[in-house]
């Protein structure tokens, strides 16, 4: 382990090591904010083909690869047919009957209830998660106290192990908790939310701390001179400045929880409590070929808001994902 004075380097390395599908200390921006467009001489057709044409060709092949399943689900969801073998690449009809079934929230397969459950649980857990992580990050960033370094290292050590791996133990713990307070025990959305809430706190704390470190101390100092309390400094200075990073971490946490399957499948057992992932998995495992239109419509409805969020906020999310804005 590095020498104690080598703090920053150590943290950067520990952070990279801590997996999580990857955030690093690497900085990059997609494109500089406003650069004047250089004017290049025109290319002849041959030169264009040799320098740029093949690049576009590869890119277009990749576009087809990316959109292949997307096109199929969009057109099957509009085909009005549940037959898997009827799926086509481009929509041939615009029949919304699959969507009607979906929105009618059938008793046995209440898609809308599942979707709502997923949204509620993911929103509640990721927002509280980010709030608690931001508080802890504030302490690690702004206070000097005994055990600070040890605490940061412990956070990262714990986060090497993804929470869901311990699903057996979490199940047994939730059974016990349910014996005492049934409202937050097994097979409750509140219980699942609490479990999720604990999940990524360590890693998010670390990320947010990195960002807060980049906010100059002098801001707090002058506020403190004016008599501001820690709470005021936190809510009035640090949080507003950290908002972009917090938003990205919130979105990424949300999406991770929205897709979470293992814990939800282990902890939830009654149909009306399922999340979208659990409900759809059970629905589809019954019979693929016969419920294709419905599954497609469900996939479109489930994915659309998230894909839109991604496309709108892509620059911020990308730099968050790859470490830029988060590390600062």
């Amino acid at each position: 382990m590095a020498a104690p004075d080598n703090n920053q380097e150590l943290e950067a390395r520990v952070e990279s090591a801590a997996k999580s599908g990857g955030q690093s200390g690497m900085f990059f921006a997609w494109r500089k904010a406003k650069e004047p467009k250089p004017i290049y001489p025109k290319m002849s057709g041959k030169v264009w083909l040799r320098t740029l044409g093949w690049r576009h060709l590869i890119a277009i092949l990749a576009v087809i690869f990316s959109l292949y399943p997307v096109m199929y689900i969009i057109s099957s969801s509009l085909s009005g047919q549940d037959n898997l073998s009827a799926a086509t690449f481009f929509p041939t009809t615009f029949d919304f009957s699959s969507y009607q079934v979906l929105f009618s929230n059938p008793d046995l397969t209440p898609f809308m209830t599942w979707l709502r459950n997923s949204w509620i649980v993911s929103l509640a857990a990721s927002s509280m998660n980010v709030a608690l992580a931001a508080m802890a990050a504030f302490a690690f960033s702004r206070f000097r106290f005994k055990g600070r370094r040890t605490g940061l290292l412990a956070l990262l050590l714990v986060q090497i192990f993804p929470q869901f791996l311990a699903f057996v133990a979490i199940l047994l713990i939730m059974i016990e908790i349910g014996n005492i307070i049934p409202a937050i025990g097994l097979d409750t959305l509140a219980g699942l939310t609490l479990v999720y809430l604990g999940g990524a706190i360590g890693f998010n704390t670390f990320l947010i701390k990195g960002f807060m470190d980049s906010i100059p101390d002098s801001l707090d100092e002058s506020a403190r001179v004016d008599g501001a309390s820690q709470w005021t400094i936190f809510t009035k200075i640090i949080l507003p400045l950290a908002r972009p990073a917090l938003a990205v971490i919130f979105i990424i946490s949300f999406i991770n929880l929205f897709s979470e399957f293992l814990l939800a499948r282990t902890l939830l057992s009654s149909t009306e409590n399922f999340t979208f992932a659990v409900g759809l998995q059970l629905f589809t495992s019954a019979n693929y070929a016969a419920s294709w239109g419905l599954l497609s419509a469900a996939a479109v409805v489930g994915a659309a808001p998230i894909v839109l969020t991604f496309l709108i906020a892509q620059r911020a999310i990308i730099s968050g994902l790859t470490g830029g804005s988060v590390k600062g």
């Binding site: 740029l52 609490l194 897709s259 693929y288």
Partner: protein
């Protein structure tokens, strides 16, 4: 740092109210825990709550006040589960061994013995419901030949006797309809409904207590008064169960195989037993039992191959695209990037479920698209999901689709962060094109990306969603002693062990394998640590 007991602002009162609420809930919970006899949980709760009170009431705990809320949840739902997993891995916790020893003894002591010789009065059985929808909301009416009846709540034989189980007793007048369609406000169930109820309620284990003894239910239509006796008696001093019927003594198993169960002196093992620690037996089983070791090794090996190929294929494609698009005159980058991000943006479980449909070998679009090719080559359509080898290919292909956008974004970012003067200097020295890429660009990329690639390896190492939603680990390996498939990775294998209802849950063994995964992750992290350090020493200037 002003905030402390001396500060009587709003913050202090908010804190005090929240603490009071927490303490009230904690007090109430601890009473239940004491009643249940859960000593460890009780102690944990007390220590945790005292800690929280200390943090928020003691003056000089400034930093901890900010950390504690997150710390509490992280402790309960991440740290304790990890520790608890290691405990469970040392136990025999599985179907048949899920309760405490006291509960097991209670279970056996509640077992009654019914002497087949001593027959009592026979009753006809009718079932009534209050239509409350509660599965326990039914009552039994028992009528004997003379029209005498007993009406009341049954109990399971394993439960302790209920005092006021009989709601009504009497005799039907001759000529009265037996059974009445309605009785004491409850409705007679049709035979069909009774049959349905019998799928949820074990009728043969029901008993109705009356003053003159127990009426034991014999099936869906009859019950009999019997003199039932307690079969097993627990001798506390000797810690043995004495079987009064077969005159044998059953004592707790000594060897690891029978630990957690009573073993009678004629060799019979009484199931259910209780949760007992059995040391390293689960680890031993994985290492030595050939029927478990073979599937485990298969899964273990494939897990590494899968994680490696996942990273290699996604990184190769992502890098190829990034390099292709990295040209100062390339147009439409924003469009391409927006399209490439879509596979990444769609929640993975949705796209995996969709891919599973597309890969369906008889109806899926992929095989329909490839049909002309199959005809041309004169081969059978590929069974993407049910052929052991092709299923592995499918898993990697789907993962390629899911994972290449992330790699593309990473590689693009890293490419842009390479200072152009380095490449210019290289071209002056005569290194251009492929050579410059191999000697300069690629090594620099690896320095920046290696930790992220290892992170991606660790992520894919446990990519449960992909495997479980796409193939459910299948196709199954035939002839294995435990449920295992050709595409199973350790975590999906563990999930099957823990939750496969058909063959019972084996929490102990599942936890042992989870501990192995933990250990492997530690190794991967340690490796990442050293590897990135070496790369930086070699290439990183700063």
């Amino acid at each position: 740092m002003a905030a402390s007991l001396g500060n009587w602002g709003t913050g202090f009162w908010v804190r005090l109210v929240l603490l009071a609420l927490l303490d009230a809930v904690a007090l109430w919970s601890s009473l239940i825990l004491i009643a249940d006899g859960s000593v460890i949980m009780f102690l944990g709760l007390v220590i945790g709550v005292l800690f929280i009170n200390w943090v928020y009431l003691w003056p000089r705990t400034e930093a901890l006040r900010w950390i504690t809320p997150g710390l509490v949840f992280m402790t309960i739902f991440v740290v304790i589960p990890i520790i608890y997993t290691s405990y469970v891995s040392l136990t025999n916790w599985r179907t048949g061994n899920v309760t405490s020893k006291e509960q097991t003894i209670d279970f056996w002591e509640a077992k009654v013995y019914v002497d087949p010789e001593a027959e009592g009065t026979l009753f006809d059985l009718f079932v009534y419901t209050d239509d409350s929808g509660d599965p326990d909301g039914f009552k039994l009416l028992l009528v004997n030949e003379e029209g005498q009846y007993v009406y009341g709540d049954p109990r399971l034989r394993t439960e302790t006797a209920i005092e006021d189980g009989v709601e009504d007793e009497g005799t039907f007048a001759s000529g009265e309809e037996i059974p009445p369609a309605e009785f004491n406000g409850s409705r007679l169930l049709t035979q069909r409904e009774v049959f349905q109820l019998s799928t949820q309620v074990d009728f043969k284990n029901l008993v109705v207590d009356t003053d003159s003894g127990e009426i034991v239910i014999l099936g869906l239509s009859q019950g009999r008064v019997v003199q039932a006796s307690q079969r097993y008696v627990y001798d506390e001093e000797a810690d043995t169960l004495i079987d009064t019927v077969e005159n044998r003594v059953c004592s707790p198993g000594e060897v690891t195989a029978t630990k957690g169960n009573f073993v009678c002196d004629d060799g019979e093992v009484l199931v259910p037993g209780w949760v007992a620690t059995i040391g390293l037996k689960n680890y031993n089983t994985v290492a030595t039992n050939p029927l478990i070791r073979e599937p485990f090794l298969r899964v273990f090996l494939w897990n590494f191959v899968f994680a490696f190929l996942s990273v290699a294929t996604t990184f190769a494609l992502g890098l190829l695209l990034a390099v292709t698009m990295h040209h100062y005159r390339m147009k439409g980058l924003r469009f391409y990037r927006s399209v490439f991000i879509i596979p990444y943006a769609i929640p993975a479980f949705l796209s995996i479920l969709v891919w599973r449909g597309l890969f369906n070998s008889s109806f899926g679009t992929i095989n329909r698209t490839l049909a002309p090719l199959y005809d041309l080559l004169g081969i059978d359509p590929i069974r993407w999901l049910s052929d052991p080898t092709w299923a592995k290919v499918t898993v990697i292909l789907v993962n390629l689709w899911l994972g290449f956008p992330y790699m593309f974004l990473l590689a693009t970012g890293a490419l842009q962060s390479i200072p152009s003067d380095i490449l210019e200097a290289a071209s002056v020295d005569g290194a251009t094109g492929g050579r410059a890429f191999r000697k300069i660009t690629f090594p620099l990329l690896m320095v920046a990306l290696a930790p992220l690639l290892i992170g991606s390896f660790a992520f894919n190492f446990n990519n449960f969603n992909l495997i479980f939603l796409l193939t459910q680990g299948g196709p199954p390996v035939l002839g294995a002693d435990i449920p295992v498939g050709h595409t199973d990775i350790l975590i999906s294998f563990t999930f099957n062990l823990a939750s496969n209802a058909g063959r019972g849950n084996n929490f102990g063994l599942a936890s042992a394998i989870t501990m192995l995964i933990f250990f492997l992750l530690l190794l991967i992290s340690a490796f990442s640590f050293r590897f990135t350090k070496r790369l930086e020493d070699t290439y990183g200037g700063s």
